[in-house]
């Protein structure tokens, strides 16, 4: 099959970018979208041009590296699918497809489709953990967790930190990402001692990174390849409110 591509090219963080037209005429419907870019890149290299830079690694939907806006959708139009598992059988022969990087103030473009998502690491570093130094753990069976809580914790913890929620949000908010970690740890007994400091510190870091606020649009959960539910943001807001106005927050200078 043949596809016409409009791909965002930008040679560096401070350079001006633009959409460039390409045609791939030896595509195959069994290819993944990233394999389509591979084919394009092989052609570009042999023609003496620089290939399209893009992030990718596991190509099975779990590492969270790949990040492309395809035809206006983060990770493309297929539901619950990262762009590495988006296959060309969902496109029509001869179709024109636009490929852009994640767009957000907090994700500066480094080159072509590659953006800097280190802001998300810094949000985790601000409190997205349970302090349990190696060796200090009690016997695992001594902390029972009701199954419904364990299941909800897992659902939230399935976030792959790809940033699609940010790319999809008109406000550029990372609330779904942030809420997923808050909800994961808040569901577990082990997460309680640091619960209120965690939410305040992570929200402050989120805002400092330049991510926008949540106005309950819900585009994030639609774009999320792991279908993280919107209610993690409700948990986030509730915990933040309790921590800041409800007198729950302690030990903070």
């Amino acid at each position: 099959m043949k596809l016409k591509l409009k791909v965002w090219r930008q040679s560096g963080p401070d350079e001006k970018g633009r959409l460039v037209d390409y045609v791939v005429d030896n595509a195959d419907e069994d290819m993944s979208f990233l394999e389509l870019i591979d084919v394009l890149n092989e052609k570009l290299i042999l023609e003496g041009e620089e290939p399209v830079a893009f992030d990718q690694d596991c190509r099975e939907g779990i590492c969270g590296s790949c990040d492309m806006v395809v035809n206006g959708y983060a990770h493309g139009p297929q539901k619950a699918t990262t762009v590495c598992q988006l296959h060309l059988r969902h496109f029509k022969d001869g179709e024109t497809v636009t490929v852009e990087p994640w767009r957000s103030v907090a994700f500066p473009v480094l080159k072509d489709l590659v953006v800097d998502r280190s802001a998300l690491d810094r949000i985790i570093a601000a409190g997205g953990y349970i302090s349990a130094p190696t060796g200090s753990a009690p016997e695992a069976a001594s902390t029972p967790v009701p199954k419904p809580n364990a299941d909800r914790a897992f659902t939230a913890a399935a976030c792959i930190q790809c940033g699609a929620c940010v790319a999809a949000c008109p406000n550029g908010s990372a609330s779904l990402f942030l809420g997923s970690k808050i909800a994961h740890l808040a569901e577990l007994p082990q997460g309680q001692p640091e619960r209120w400091e965690r939410v305040v510190n992570m929200v402050e870091q989120h805002d400092a990174e330049g991510f926008g606020g949540c106005t309950n649009i819900g585009q994030c959960t639609v774009a999320c390849p792991k279908e993280i539910p919107l209610d993690v943001i409700a948990t986030l807001n509730r915990d933040y409110l309790l921590a800041t106005t409800g007198g729950r927050r302690r030990h903070i200078a």
């Binding site: 040679s11 560096g12 419907e29 069994d30 290819m31 394999e35 591979d38 084919v39 092989e42 570009l44 290299i45 042999l46 003496g48 620089e50 290939p51 830079a53 992030d55 690694d57 596991c58 190509r59 099975e60 779990i62 590492c63 969270g64 590296s65 296959h87 059988r89 480094l110 080159k111 590659v114 800097d116 998502r117 280190s118 998300l120 690491d121 985790i124 601000a126 953990y129 349970i130 302090s131 349990a132 130094p133 190696t134 060796g135 753990a137 695992a140 069976a141 902390t143 029972p144 967790v145 009701p146 199954k147 364990a150 914790a153 897992f154 913890a157 399935a158 930190q161 577990l188 082990q190």
Partner: protein
Amino acid sequence: MNNYVDYTVGEPVSDSAAPGGSIDTRWERHRFGVKLVNPANKRKMKIIMVGTGLAGGAAAATLGELGYQVESFCFQDSPRRAHSIAAQGGINAAKNYRNDGDSVFRLFYDTIKGGDFRARESNVHRLAEISRQIIDQCVAQGVPFAREYGGLLDTRSFGGAQVSRTFYARGQTGQQLLLGAYQALERQVQAGTVTMYNRHEMLELIIIDGRARGIVARDLVTGETRSHMADAVVLASGGYGNVFYLSTNAKGSNVTATWRAHRKGALFANPCYTQIHPTCIPVSGEHQSKLTLMSESLRNDGRVWVPKEMGDDRNPRDIPEDQRDYFLERQYPAFGNLVPRDIASRAAKAVCDAKRGVGPTGLGVYLDFSAAIERLGRAAVAAKYGNLFDMYERITGENPYEVPMRIFPAVHYTMGGLWVDYNLQSTIPGLFVTGEANFSDHGANRLGASALMQGLADGYFVLPTTIGDYLAGAKLTPVPDDAPEVAEAEAEVAARLDRLLSIDGHRTVDSFHRELGHLMWDYCGMERSDEGLRKALDRIPELRREFWSDVKVPGSAATLNQSLEKAGRVADFLELGELMCLDALHRTESCGGHFRAESQTDDGEAKRDDENFSYVAAWEYTGQGQAPVLHKEDLVFEYVTPSQRSYK
């Protein structure tokens, strides 16, 4: 004329750090025997960690907690993306929560036997002991393991064991364990003990006065290449399955860190031991960039078959029962579809070699759920395997409730790696190697759910203890800024990058990588023979020469250049591949994942040769195209008596 070089046999190598005496107390006695570093001195010591998967992430976090200054490197844009994230099934631990007769000794026994008696008893026993602490540690971090309704931890059964000792978090155990380690790591970043270097790739090891003292790393965004110095260097850079081009590994997984260390003197052990996983989605065409694993658990209810007749390309639903060959059930009536990974993979290859494979390429066998759907109902099958069926349909466009899945074996894990002693120290003092990057615990075949166990055991518990022993006794002096070894290593890296960019030939890096992958798969894959390995050994050096004279790498070194990154990795694979074939050629026995056509029993099973090959093959590098030196480490079995495996 043969292109390939032969090898010479050098002095045997031995694990001088291994304790003797009763195996139950070896690790405890060893821990008491190691030298300690006092907390004030830890703050003055710097450790470089390369790789942030389970082994590297866990170690960096733990060393930071202990007070060391840690510099942690990963080529991904975040430490949480290391390929441990993709592990599906689970993690073994001898907790005996099921009261089904499990124990540390049983886990030790199963792992030694599963490794086909090619691993060290001391290491494996320590692994089994530590397995219990790992679960405690991960639960404390908030890893959401599967739980029973009573709130206690659930377990399941896995291949190679008769007890239920595998802890899991749906099909994403690796992800959840890695997030636990990553969050602990980020906590140390915040505390200032760990400095992260994301999007950095180690390109050279720096050795001063015979000790590992630093690395040269390239910032993959700016292209800046510079040295980083430390008191010790730890490689936790994963396995080398991507030498086959197509594998279940992430695209970026590579051998460069360990291969660079090998070139500088670290012995590389058992490079030919690779694990081929039987249930992966088959290749759909030349464009294929990687292979996707479908969990081994599918073989509980799926029946594996191919048509009896060659070239029968009818719709599988139109092939009557009596014209189907359920070859695993036929050949292995006792275990049927649940034979171990190496056996199932080879059997699938054999029927495809006999031109009875299915699908457009002929390289596939059916995994059929129609009997299970009939027996249990569609809803019950969906409850068990729904997410896997969805994933299969997403990739292939076929609905496995309606038509049988097509599967084929794929490269999954590499048991070989840099040789380490009981302290996880390589043959270069101050260079430690953990996780899949070392060779130590799985022998010739790894059991399911044991990789996560080993990565975390090394990272959380073993390395943080043993590296202190080295640092306390090393008496290191600071490396002067103008040390010639540093300048030399930096210059070597710069020259290599320049050379890759200046060739400006006619073939892409990927085209060389694919060709190497085909050679490795055909001749050093599921079945190896003297003739085939010699063919590969003839061709690989030629291919390497072609690469260095005809590869085309666009762009410059002073910017983000993904072609350049790939070129460096493939250049190293082109050297590693040759050593793997040589190792496979020299080991004329079959064992675990290494099946030599010449060494099989009368009924076609793998035949070990304990008399001649009960050793670890540790290879010394002597120069590109030069004969490597083989150092043997004899394996001694005091607690488990080697026996022939049978699954008939």
